[in-house]
Subunit: 227 residues, 2 copies
């Protein structure tokens, strides 16, 4: 059924028409609104755009992991790659960050993407794998910009309590221009998530669309869901 | 230390200055950059703005829960209230949705807010409580707009598989204008999260700021963290 999800924001309701007005034509639907294969293709197109365009809403998804005590943990990560052929997404992190331990212990993770402008949500789940000191990590490091590399040079554990913020001259801009080349690589990790499912939600005033795509080997099983 | 978080997007680095140029004055820092109490107040101000302004980035956080099988689940919710006095946030949901069961089984939840424009992230954790058929739920339902109420009238379980999306005339806009008054209340639930901690991250080119606020009774303990 074309049902709204009450936990999500309302799409703009249609403007009321005066009794004398001609009834407005419904807005054209996107082609993926009634075609599951097109919806899955659209989801992957959005993911690729998120990896390529730093201004895209899908550039900064939320990664949810589970701690050893069973509580959920959620934070922003930057989407670095989306590859439909291998059904993988990639992001980078500091080896010293808490999420590395959480992923090692419980590799089943969720990634949540929401574009409030386009009213599209993707709920992606899969198994995360850490890459450190292997060819994939080396290639990812090679493609990292100098400014990003500075993040990994800092001799302190992310999330550790400190007495006060340090002065600006130790900020990332300065570290990034220090020309230290490979320094920081020892703290760098790439994380590749192999997807098991994608849930796609499109909020349209003419009728919401929700679909689940579940990967079984090379095949994506597709079904509409009640939104 | 004013350290970058490599998992987050880079703030814009300062423009390089020519050798002859006078060194530019550093941009003024926000007052909350070096004051933990001001940072906590700013976090609450952002949460209140998120609840009140549907165009605010903090209006649509990501809720992370944990399923019975131990895997994380993440989806958008709409922030409906943020009350500093009681340290609570509120959102609404359909009683039939999967998150209701997850919250009942494991009330420890995480809410993730990220504003890419302002470069502020909040990671909020707390205990969620479901409200159904009680005064709080009734008051929340009363304040719900007709369009939102339509979401709860649909005679189908959210997330259930269906053969095809239903035609547009069964969409929320039409249901919302049916004038059915209280219909749908039987599927409505309010969820109130009582916060245990807030982690605040502000990405500034002059030096990132990260702080953790942990609630102990009426007191918020505050500390800077390595970003």
């Amino acid at each position: 059924m074309t049902l709204p999800d009450p936990s999500l924001p309302d799409p703009t309701p249609p403007a009321p028409t005066l009794p004398e007005s001609p009834r407005p034509e419904p807005a054209p639907q996107e082609p993926f609104c009634d075609d599951l294969a097109a919806a899955l293709a659209e989801a992957w197109a959005e993911l690729r755009r998120g990896a390529a365009d730093r201004r895209a809403a899908f550039h900064t998804p939320c990664l949810a992991t589970v701690r050893a005590d069973g509580t959920p943990s959620a934070r922003t990560v930057v989407l670095r790659a989306a590859e439909e052929e291998t059904a993988t997404l990639r992001f980078h992190t500091d080896r010293r960050s808490a999420k590395v331990g959480e992923i090692s212990d419980r590799p089943a993770v969720a990634l949540h993407f929401y574009d409030p402008g386009r009213k599209i949500q993707l709920r992606v789940e899969g198994l995360a794998r850490l890459h450190r000191d292997d060819p994939l990590a080396a290639a990812a490091w090679e493609a990292t910009r100098p400014f990003s590399r500075a993040c990994y040079r800092v001799p302190a554990t992310p999330g550790e309590a400190i007495a006060a913020p340090l002065p600006a001259h130790l900020g990332p801009a300065q570290l990034g221009h220090a020309g230290q080349g490979e320094a920081g690589a020892e703290n760098f990790a790439a994380v590749v998530v192999t997807l098991r499912s994608i849930e796609w939600l499109y909020l349209a005033a003419r009728g919401h669309r929700r679909a689940r795509f579940t990967r079984d080997g090379e095949i994506w099983e597709k079904t509409w869901l009640v939104p």
